[in-house]
Amino acid sequence: MKEAGIGRIVFTQEQIQKQVSEMAQALSRDYAGKNPILIGILKGSFYFMSDLTRYMTIPVSIDFLSIGVYPEVTKKTGIVRFNKELDLSITGRHVLLVEDIVGTGLTLSYICQHMEAFKPASLKICTLLDNPSERLLAINIDYRCFIMPDVFLVGYGLDYEQRYRNLPYIAAYQPEKQD
Protein backbone atom coordinates (compact mmCIF):
# COMPACT_ATOMS: atom_id res chain seq x y z
CA MET A 1 0.00 0.00 0.00
CA LYS A 2 1.66 3.23 -1.10
CA GLU A 3 -0.23 6.45 -1.14
CA ALA A 4 0.58 10.10 -1.52
CA GLY A 5 1.76 11.59 1.72
CA ILE A 6 3.35 8.42 3.08
CA GLY A 7 7.08 8.98 3.37
CA ARG A 8 10.00 6.85 4.42
CA ILE A 9 9.51 3.77 6.56
CA VAL A 10 10.70 4.69 10.05
CA PHE A 11 10.27 1.26 11.69
CA THR A 12 10.03 -1.81 9.46
CA GLN A 13 7.70 -4.72 10.10
CA GLU A 14 10.69 -6.81 11.20
CA GLN A 15 11.98 -4.14 13.58
CA ILE A 16 8.55 -3.78 15.14
CA GLN A 17 8.03 -7.52 15.55
CA LYS A 18 11.50 -7.93 17.07
CA GLN A 19 10.95 -5.14 19.61
CA VAL A 20 7.45 -6.28 20.49
CA SER A 21 8.52 -9.91 20.99
CA GLU A 22 11.40 -8.78 23.22
CA MET A 23 9.04 -6.66 25.27
CA ALA A 24 6.65 -9.61 25.52
CA GLN A 25 9.48 -11.77 26.87
CA ALA A 26 10.33 -9.14 29.50
CA LEU A 27 6.68 -8.86 30.50
CA SER A 28 6.30 -12.65 30.70
CA ARG A 29 9.26 -12.69 33.06
CA ASP A 30 8.14 -9.72 35.19
CA TYR A 31 4.50 -10.81 35.47
CA ALA A 32 5.06 -14.57 35.89
CA GLY A 33 2.51 -15.96 38.34
CA LYS A 34 0.68 -12.61 38.57
CA ASN A 35 -2.08 -13.18 36.00
CA PRO A 36 -1.96 -9.55 34.80
CA ILE A 37 -4.68 -7.62 33.02
CA LEU A 38 -3.44 -5.87 29.89
CA ILE A 39 -5.57 -2.89 28.99
CA GLY A 40 -5.23 -1.53 25.49
CA ILE A 41 -6.12 2.10 24.87
CA LEU A 42 -8.17 2.17 21.67
CA LYS A 43 -7.77 2.60 18.83
CA GLY A 44 -4.06 3.15 18.30
CA SER A 45 -2.80 0.29 20.44
CA PHE A 46 -4.95 -2.36 18.72
CA TYR A 47 -2.23 -4.09 16.61
CA PHE A 48 0.46 -3.59 19.24
CA MET A 49 -1.76 -5.15 21.90
CA SER A 50 -2.63 -8.02 19.60
CA ASP A 51 1.00 -8.89 18.78
CA LEU A 52 2.28 -8.23 22.30
CA THR A 53 -0.18 -10.56 24.00
CA ARG A 54 0.36 -13.31 21.43
CA TYR A 55 4.13 -13.19 22.02
CA MET A 56 3.61 -13.43 25.79
CA THR A 57 4.05 -16.87 27.31
CA ILE A 58 2.05 -16.45 30.52
CA PRO A 59 -1.73 -16.35 31.11
CA VAL A 60 -3.11 -12.81 30.75
CA SER A 61 -6.52 -11.17 30.81
CA ILE A 62 -7.32 -8.59 28.16
CA ASP A 63 -9.53 -5.54 28.21
CA PHE A 64 -9.82 -2.27 26.31
CA LEU A 65 -10.53 1.34 27.11
CA SER A 66 -11.47 4.13 24.80
CA ILE A 67 -11.66 7.80 25.67
CA GLY A 68 -12.94 10.71 23.70
CA VAL A 69 -13.89 14.34 24.03
CA TYR A 70 -17.50 15.29 24.39
CA PRO A 71 -19.00 18.74 24.37
CA GLU A 72 -20.21 20.08 27.67
CA VAL A 73 -23.25 22.30 27.81
CA THR A 74 -21.72 24.87 30.12
CA LYS A 75 -18.32 25.13 28.45
CA LYS A 76 -16.95 26.03 25.04
CA THR A 77 -14.47 23.17 25.19
CA GLY A 78 -15.46 19.57 25.75
CA ILE A 79 -14.69 17.19 28.50
CA VAL A 80 -12.73 13.97 28.32
CA ARG A 81 -14.87 10.92 28.99
CA PHE A 82 -14.66 7.19 28.47
CA ASN A 83 -16.23 5.94 25.21
CA LYS A 84 -15.72 2.43 26.44
CA GLU A 85 -15.23 1.51 30.08
CA LEU A 86 -13.53 -1.65 31.36
CA ASP A 87 -15.47 -4.90 31.34
CA LEU A 88 -13.21 -6.57 33.92
CA SER A 89 -12.69 -5.61 37.54
CA ILE A 90 -9.10 -4.47 38.18
CA THR A 91 -9.30 -4.19 41.97
CA GLY A 92 -6.38 -6.09 43.47
CA ARG A 93 -5.10 -7.11 40.03
CA HIS A 94 -1.78 -6.33 38.35
CA VAL A 95 -2.63 -3.91 35.54
CA LEU A 96 -0.55 -3.01 32.50
CA LEU A 97 -1.77 -0.13 30.36
CA VAL A 98 -0.84 -0.59 26.70
CA GLU A 99 -0.54 2.66 24.71
CA ASP A 100 0.46 3.42 21.15
CA ILE A 101 2.15 6.78 21.84
CA VAL A 102 2.89 8.62 25.08
CA GLY A 103 3.41 12.32 24.38
CA THR A 104 2.28 15.08 26.71
CA GLY A 105 1.09 12.53 29.27
CA LEU A 106 -2.30 14.26 29.61
CA THR A 107 -4.37 11.34 28.30
CA LEU A 108 -2.40 8.81 30.28
CA SER A 109 -2.69 10.88 33.47
CA TYR A 110 -6.43 10.99 33.02
CA ILE A 111 -6.58 7.21 32.57
CA CYS A 112 -4.22 6.53 35.50
CA GLN A 113 -6.27 8.76 37.81
CA HIS A 114 -9.32 6.74 36.84
CA MET A 115 -7.58 3.36 37.22
CA GLU A 116 -6.06 4.19 40.60
CA ALA A 117 -9.51 4.77 42.01
CA PHE A 118 -10.19 1.03 41.57
CA LYS A 119 -7.12 0.15 43.67
CA PRO A 120 -5.26 -2.29 41.44
CA ALA A 121 -2.39 -4.27 43.04
CA SER A 122 -0.04 -2.50 40.61
CA LEU A 123 -0.37 -0.19 37.64
CA LYS A 124 2.33 0.01 34.99
CA ILE A 125 2.58 1.51 31.55
CA CYS A 126 3.95 0.11 28.34
CA THR A 127 4.01 1.97 25.06
CA LEU A 128 4.94 1.29 21.50
CA LEU A 129 6.33 4.82 21.02
CA ASP A 130 7.49 7.29 23.63
CA ASN A 131 7.94 10.96 22.94
CA PRO A 132 9.58 12.28 26.13
CA SER A 133 10.41 15.64 24.52
CA GLU A 134 6.69 16.39 24.35
CA ARG A 135 6.06 15.42 27.99
CA LEU A 136 4.28 17.93 30.21
CA LEU A 137 3.53 15.72 33.19
CA ALA A 138 5.99 13.54 35.06
CA ILE A 139 4.85 10.00 34.27
CA ASN A 140 6.95 6.91 34.64
CA ILE A 141 6.97 4.73 31.51
CA ASP A 142 7.84 1.19 32.54
CA TYR A 143 8.20 -0.44 29.09
CA ARG A 144 8.77 1.21 25.71
CA CYS A 145 9.58 -0.19 22.26
CA PHE A 146 10.78 2.92 20.43
CA ILE A 147 11.57 6.56 21.02
CA MET A 148 9.40 8.65 18.73
CA PRO A 149 11.27 10.64 16.07
CA ASP A 150 10.24 14.22 15.42
CA VAL A 151 7.92 13.39 12.50
CA PHE A 152 4.26 12.56 12.12
CA LEU A 153 3.83 8.78 11.93
CA VAL A 154 1.22 6.43 10.54
CA GLY A 155 0.84 2.65 10.43
CA TYR A 156 0.73 -0.26 12.87
CA GLY A 157 -2.29 1.31 14.55
CA LEU A 158 -1.36 4.98 14.08
CA ASP A 159 -3.63 6.97 11.82
CA TYR A 160 -4.03 10.13 9.87
CA GLU A 161 -7.71 11.02 9.89
CA GLN A 162 -8.59 7.37 10.64
CA ARG A 163 -6.56 6.01 7.70
CA TYR A 164 -3.34 3.97 7.43
CA ARG A 165 -3.74 2.16 10.74
CA ASN A 166 -3.45 -1.20 8.93
CA LEU A 167 0.05 -0.63 7.50
CA PRO A 168 2.32 -3.40 8.87
CA TYR A 169 5.18 -0.88 9.34
CA ILE A 170 5.44 2.64 10.74
CA ALA A 171 6.08 5.40 8.24
CA ALA A 172 6.50 9.16 8.21
CA TYR A 173 3.50 11.02 6.90
CA GLN A 174 3.28 14.43 5.32
CA PRO A 175 -0.32 15.54 4.81
CA GLU A 176 -0.90 16.91 1.33
CA LYS A 177 -1.24 20.66 1.19
CA GLN A 178 -4.68 21.79 0.21
CA ASP A 179 -5.17 24.84 -1.98
Binding site: G68, V69, Y70, T77, V80, L106, L136, A138
Partner: protein
Amino acid sequence: MTFITISRESGSFGEEIALKLAESLNIPLISRSVVMSDWFPEIADKHELHMLSESPRFYLTNSKLDITFAAYLEQRLRDVVARQSVIIFGLGSQIIFANHPEAIHVKIMASTETRLNRLRRIHRLGHEDARRMLQLTDRKHKRYVSTIYNQDWSDLSHYHLVLNTDLLSIDESVSLLRFAFENKHTLTEAAESEEDKTAKAVVFKNDSEQEFAKILDMYGLEWEYEPHTFPIEWDSEGNITLAFSPDFYLPRFKTYIELTTMNQKYVSEKKKKMKKLKELYPGININMVFKSDFHALMKRFGLQKGTDV
Protein backbone atom coordinates in the same frame (compact mmCIF):
# COMPACT_ATOMS: atom_id res chain seq x y z
CA MET B 1 -15.42 27.74 63.03
CA THR B 2 -14.30 30.62 65.23
CA PHE B 3 -13.63 29.58 68.83
CA ILE B 4 -12.25 31.12 72.01
CA THR B 5 -9.87 29.61 74.51
CA ILE B 6 -9.85 31.14 77.96
CA SER B 7 -7.04 30.79 80.41
CA ARG B 8 -7.44 32.43 83.81
CA GLU B 9 -5.71 33.18 87.04
CA SER B 10 -7.58 32.12 90.18
CA GLY B 11 -9.77 34.90 91.48
CA SER B 12 -9.76 36.75 88.16
CA PHE B 13 -13.46 36.04 87.44
CA GLY B 14 -12.31 33.96 84.44
CA GLU B 15 -14.88 31.26 85.05
CA GLU B 16 -17.75 33.72 85.46
CA ILE B 17 -16.74 35.49 82.24
CA ALA B 18 -16.49 32.19 80.32
CA LEU B 19 -19.95 31.08 81.50
CA LYS B 20 -21.60 34.39 80.64
CA LEU B 21 -19.87 34.61 77.29
CA ALA B 22 -21.01 31.09 76.31
CA GLU B 23 -24.53 32.01 77.30
CA SER B 24 -24.39 35.31 75.44
CA LEU B 25 -23.03 33.72 72.23
CA ASN B 26 -25.21 30.65 72.68
CA ILE B 27 -22.30 28.27 72.11
CA PRO B 28 -21.07 25.37 74.29
CA LEU B 29 -18.45 25.80 77.00
CA ILE B 30 -15.94 22.95 77.20
CA SER B 31 -14.32 22.89 80.63
CA ARG B 32 -12.49 20.30 82.69
CA SER B 33 -15.76 19.23 84.31
CA VAL B 34 -17.25 18.38 80.86
CA VAL B 35 -14.14 16.42 79.98
CA MET B 36 -14.15 14.52 83.27
CA SER B 37 -17.87 13.72 83.22
CA ASP B 38 -18.51 13.11 79.52
CA TRP B 39 -15.29 12.38 77.61
CA PHE B 40 -12.82 10.54 79.81
CA PRO B 41 -15.31 7.96 81.14
CA GLU B 42 -15.43 6.59 77.57
CA ILE B 43 -11.82 5.44 77.84
CA ALA B 44 -10.87 5.55 81.54
CA ASP B 45 -11.82 3.32 84.51
CA LYS B 46 -12.57 4.65 87.97
CA HIS B 47 -8.95 4.63 89.12
CA GLU B 48 -7.78 6.34 85.93
CA LEU B 49 -10.47 9.00 86.30
CA HIS B 50 -9.27 9.67 89.83
CA MET B 51 -5.67 9.94 88.64
CA LEU B 52 -6.70 12.28 85.82
CA SER B 53 -8.38 14.58 88.29
CA GLU B 54 -5.29 14.62 90.52
CA SER B 55 -2.14 14.35 88.43
CA PRO B 56 -1.14 16.23 85.25
CA ARG B 57 1.61 13.63 84.73
CA PHE B 58 -1.01 10.90 84.44
CA TYR B 59 -2.24 12.55 81.22
CA LEU B 60 0.96 11.34 79.60
CA THR B 61 0.25 7.65 80.28
CA ASN B 62 -1.36 5.51 77.61
CA SER B 63 -5.10 4.96 77.61
CA LYS B 64 -6.74 1.78 76.39
CA LEU B 65 -6.84 3.36 72.92
CA ASP B 66 -3.05 3.13 72.89
CA ILE B 67 -2.69 6.89 72.85
CA THR B 68 -2.05 9.08 75.89
CA PHE B 69 -4.97 10.66 77.71
CA ALA B 70 -3.54 14.05 76.67
CA ALA B 71 -3.55 13.00 73.01
CA TYR B 72 -7.11 11.71 73.35
CA LEU B 73 -8.23 15.01 74.88
CA GLU B 74 -6.49 16.93 72.11
CA GLN B 75 -8.16 14.79 69.47
CA ARG B 76 -11.60 15.35 70.98
CA LEU B 77 -11.02 19.09 71.17
CA ARG B 78 -9.88 19.21 67.55
CA ASP B 79 -13.00 17.32 66.50
CA VAL B 80 -15.18 19.81 68.35
CA VAL B 81 -13.63 22.97 66.92
CA ALA B 82 -13.74 21.53 63.42
CA ARG B 83 -17.52 21.17 63.77
CA GLN B 84 -18.72 24.15 65.78
CA SER B 85 -17.93 27.37 67.57
CA VAL B 86 -17.12 26.79 71.24
CA ILE B 87 -15.40 28.29 74.26
CA ILE B 88 -12.69 26.11 75.72
CA PHE B 89 -11.89 26.87 79.32
CA GLY B 90 -8.32 25.90 80.29
CA LEU B 91 -7.14 22.39 79.24
CA GLY B 92 -3.97 23.81 77.68
CA SER B 93 -6.10 24.78 74.69
CA GLN B 94 -4.08 27.95 74.04
CA ILE B 95 -1.09 25.66 73.38
CA ILE B 96 -2.99 22.95 71.48
CA PHE B 97 -4.46 25.54 69.13
CA ALA B 98 -1.51 27.93 69.00
CA ASN B 99 -1.56 29.58 65.53
CA HIS B 100 -4.94 28.07 64.70
CA PRO B 101 -6.41 30.58 62.24
CA GLU B 102 -9.86 30.51 63.79
CA ALA B 103 -8.85 30.68 67.45
CA ILE B 104 -8.90 33.66 69.80
CA HIS B 105 -6.74 32.98 72.85
CA VAL B 106 -7.70 34.99 75.90
CA LYS B 107 -6.10 35.35 79.29
CA ILE B 108 -8.12 36.74 82.20
CA MET B 109 -5.96 38.14 84.99
CA ALA B 110 -6.05 40.57 87.88
CA SER B 111 -3.55 41.89 90.41
CA THR B 112 -2.62 39.62 93.32
CA GLU B 113 -4.23 42.02 95.76
CA THR B 114 -7.56 42.05 93.92
CA ARG B 115 -7.59 38.27 93.55
CA LEU B 116 -6.76 37.79 97.25
CA ASN B 117 -9.62 40.04 98.24
CA ARG B 118 -12.02 38.20 95.97
CA LEU B 119 -11.00 34.79 97.32
CA ARG B 120 -11.33 36.00 100.91
CA ARG B 121 -14.78 37.35 100.20
CA ILE B 122 -16.12 34.40 98.16
CA HIS B 123 -14.66 31.60 100.31
CA ARG B 124 -14.72 33.50 103.63
CA LEU B 125 -11.00 32.89 104.13
CA GLY B 126 -8.43 34.65 106.20
CA HIS B 127 -5.63 36.53 104.44
CA GLU B 128 -3.04 33.73 104.79
CA ASP B 129 -5.42 30.95 103.73
CA ALA B 130 -6.50 32.97 100.72
CA ARG B 131 -2.82 33.55 99.78
CA ARG B 132 -2.11 29.80 100.08
CA MET B 133 -5.16 28.94 97.97
CA LEU B 134 -4.10 31.41 95.31
CA GLN B 135 -0.58 30.00 95.20
CA LEU B 136 -1.84 26.41 95.04
CA THR B 137 -4.38 26.93 92.24
CA ASP B 138 -2.06 29.08 90.13
CA ARG B 139 0.69 26.49 90.55
CA LYS B 140 -1.73 23.76 89.48
CA HIS B 141 -2.66 25.58 86.26
CA LYS B 142 0.96 26.29 85.55
CA ARG B 143 2.04 22.69 86.22
CA TYR B 144 -0.61 21.21 83.92
CA VAL B 145 0.63 23.23 80.93
CA SER B 146 4.31 22.78 81.72
CA THR B 147 4.03 19.00 82.39
CA ILE B 148 2.04 18.16 79.29
CA TYR B 149 3.15 20.79 76.82
CA ASN B 150 6.42 22.00 78.29
CA GLN B 151 5.21 25.59 77.94
CA ASP B 152 5.01 28.51 80.35
CA TRP B 153 1.38 29.19 81.15
CA SER B 154 2.17 32.74 82.29
CA ASP B 155 3.90 33.69 79.02
CA LEU B 156 1.61 36.36 77.58
CA SER B 157 2.75 35.71 74.01
CA HIS B 158 0.38 32.72 73.97
CA TYR B 159 -2.62 35.05 73.97
CA HIS B 160 -4.36 37.40 71.57
CA LEU B 161 -6.04 39.31 74.38
CA VAL B 162 -5.28 39.81 78.05
CA LEU B 163 -8.10 41.26 80.13
CA ASN B 164 -7.37 42.78 83.50
CA THR B 165 -10.43 42.46 85.73
CA ASP B 166 -8.96 44.99 88.18
CA LEU B 167 -10.16 47.48 85.59
CA LEU B 168 -12.89 45.64 83.68
CA SER B 169 -16.14 44.29 85.10
CA ILE B 170 -17.46 40.83 84.14
CA ASP B 171 -20.03 42.40 81.79
CA GLU B 172 -17.47 44.67 80.15
CA SER B 173 -15.16 41.70 79.63
CA VAL B 174 -17.98 39.59 78.15
CA SER B 175 -18.94 42.45 75.87
CA LEU B 176 -15.35 42.88 74.64
CA LEU B 177 -14.92 39.17 74.02
CA ARG B 178 -18.25 38.97 72.28
CA PHE B 179 -17.13 41.73 69.94
CA ALA B 180 -13.79 39.96 69.32
CA PHE B 181 -15.61 36.72 68.52
CA GLU B 182 -18.10 38.31 66.12
CA ASN B 183 -15.40 40.40 64.48
CA LYS B 184 -13.21 37.36 63.87
CA HIS B 185 -16.15 35.34 62.64
CA THR B 186 -17.19 38.00 60.12
CA LEU B 187 -13.66 38.64 58.90
CA THR B 188 -12.96 34.93 58.47
CA GLU B 189 -16.13 34.46 56.46
CA ALA B 190 -15.34 37.50 54.33
CA ALA B 191 -11.80 36.23 53.69
CA GLU B 192 -13.12 32.80 52.71
CA SER B 193 -15.65 34.25 50.31
CA GLU B 194 -12.95 36.53 48.84
CA GLU B 195 -10.75 33.47 48.33
CA ASP B 196 -13.61 31.74 46.55
CA LYS B 197 -14.11 34.73 44.29
CA THR B 198 -10.40 34.90 43.49
CA ALA B 199 -10.32 31.21 42.74
CA LYS B 200 -13.22 31.53 40.35
CA ALA B 201 -12.02 34.65 38.57
CA VAL B 202 -8.57 33.83 37.27
CA VAL B 203 -7.36 36.60 35.00
CA PHE B 204 -5.03 35.20 32.39
CA LYS B 205 -2.40 37.36 30.74
CA ASN B 206 -3.17 36.05 27.28
CA ASP B 207 -5.50 33.80 25.28
CA SER B 208 -2.99 30.96 25.03
CA GLU B 209 -2.96 30.55 28.79
CA GLN B 210 -6.73 30.53 28.85
CA GLU B 211 -6.83 27.89 26.10
CA PHE B 212 -4.28 25.77 27.92
CA ALA B 213 -6.31 25.97 31.13
CA LYS B 214 -9.29 24.67 29.14
CA ILE B 215 -7.30 21.62 28.06
CA LEU B 216 -6.33 20.88 31.66
CA ASP B 217 -9.98 21.27 32.66
CA MET B 218 -10.99 18.83 29.94
CA TYR B 219 -8.86 16.19 31.58
CA GLY B 220 -10.11 17.05 35.04
CA LEU B 221 -6.54 17.90 36.09
CA GLU B 222 -6.27 20.26 39.05
CA TRP B 223 -4.18 23.37 38.24
CA GLU B 224 -3.17 26.66 39.79
CA TYR B 225 -2.35 29.79 37.79
CA GLU B 226 0.96 31.48 38.63
CA PRO B 227 0.77 30.36 42.25
CA HIS B 228 4.47 30.81 43.03
CA THR B 229 7.12 33.40 42.24
CA PHE B 230 10.75 32.32 42.40
CA PRO B 231 13.42 34.98 42.90
CA ILE B 232 16.28 34.30 40.48
CA GLU B 233 18.50 37.41 40.71
CA TRP B 234 19.47 39.65 43.61
CA ASP B 235 21.49 42.87 43.88
CA SER B 236 24.47 43.31 46.18
CA GLU B 237 22.18 44.21 49.08
CA GLY B 238 20.13 41.08 48.66
CA ASN B 239 17.12 42.79 47.06
CA ILE B 240 15.33 40.70 44.45
CA THR B 241 15.97 42.11 40.97
CA LEU B 242 14.53 39.32 38.85
CA ALA B 243 11.84 36.74 39.57
CA PHE B 244 10.06 34.07 37.58
CA SER B 245 6.43 32.96 37.95
CA PRO B 246 5.71 29.83 35.92
CA ASP B 247 2.24 29.98 34.33
CA PHE B 248 0.72 26.80 35.72
CA TYR B 249 1.29 24.44 38.61
CA LEU B 250 -0.21 20.94 38.64
CA PRO B 251 -0.18 19.87 42.30
CA ARG B 252 -0.87 16.20 41.65
CA PHE B 253 2.22 15.93 39.47
CA LYS B 254 4.24 18.58 41.35
CA THR B 255 4.94 20.06 37.91
CA TYR B 256 5.16 23.66 36.68
CA ILE B 257 4.30 24.48 33.09
CA GLU B 258 5.43 27.59 31.28
CA LEU B 259 3.87 28.56 27.95
CA THR B 260 5.99 30.40 25.39
CA THR B 261 3.81 31.38 22.52
CA MET B 262 5.38 34.74 21.78
CA ASN B 263 8.16 35.66 19.35
CA GLN B 264 11.69 34.29 19.40
CA LYS B 265 13.27 37.23 21.24
CA TYR B 266 11.20 36.62 24.34
CA VAL B 267 11.59 32.85 24.08
CA SER B 268 15.36 33.21 24.48
CA GLU B 269 14.86 35.36 27.59
CA LYS B 270 12.47 32.81 29.02
CA LYS B 271 14.88 29.98 28.31
CA LYS B 272 17.56 31.85 30.25
CA LYS B 273 15.17 32.35 33.15
CA MET B 274 14.23 28.67 33.12
CA LYS B 275 17.90 27.68 33.13
CA LYS B 276 18.57 29.93 36.11
CA LEU B 277 15.49 28.65 37.90
CA LYS B 278 16.61 25.04 37.51
CA GLU B 279 20.11 25.91 38.74
CA LEU B 280 18.83 27.73 41.81
CA TYR B 281 16.00 25.31 42.62
CA PRO B 282 17.38 21.95 41.51
CA GLY B 283 14.39 19.94 42.80
CA ILE B 284 11.91 21.85 40.66
CA ASN B 285 9.99 20.05 37.96
CA ILE B 286 9.17 22.49 35.15
CA ASN B 287 8.28 21.99 31.49
CA MET B 288 8.08 24.56 28.75
CA VAL B 289 5.48 24.46 26.00
CA PHE B 290 6.84 26.16 22.88
CA LYS B 291 4.78 27.91 20.24
CA SER B 292 4.85 24.93 17.82
CA ASP B 293 3.98 22.43 20.57
CA PHE B 294 1.16 24.64 21.72
CA HIS B 295 -0.31 24.91 18.23
CA ALA B 296 0.01 21.14 17.77
CA LEU B 297 -1.87 20.68 21.05
CA MET B 298 -4.57 23.12 19.99
CA LYS B 299 -4.91 21.37 16.65
CA ARG B 300 -5.19 18.03 18.34
CA PHE B 301 -7.93 19.41 20.54
CA GLY B 302 -9.82 21.10 17.72
CA LEU B 303 -12.62 19.14 19.13
CA GLN B 304 -15.61 17.52 17.69
CA LYS B 305 -18.08 15.20 19.32
CA GLY B 306 -16.49 11.91 20.20
CA THR B 307 -13.03 12.86 18.95
CA ASP B 308 -10.40 10.29 19.96
CA VAL B 309 -7.59 11.76 22.04
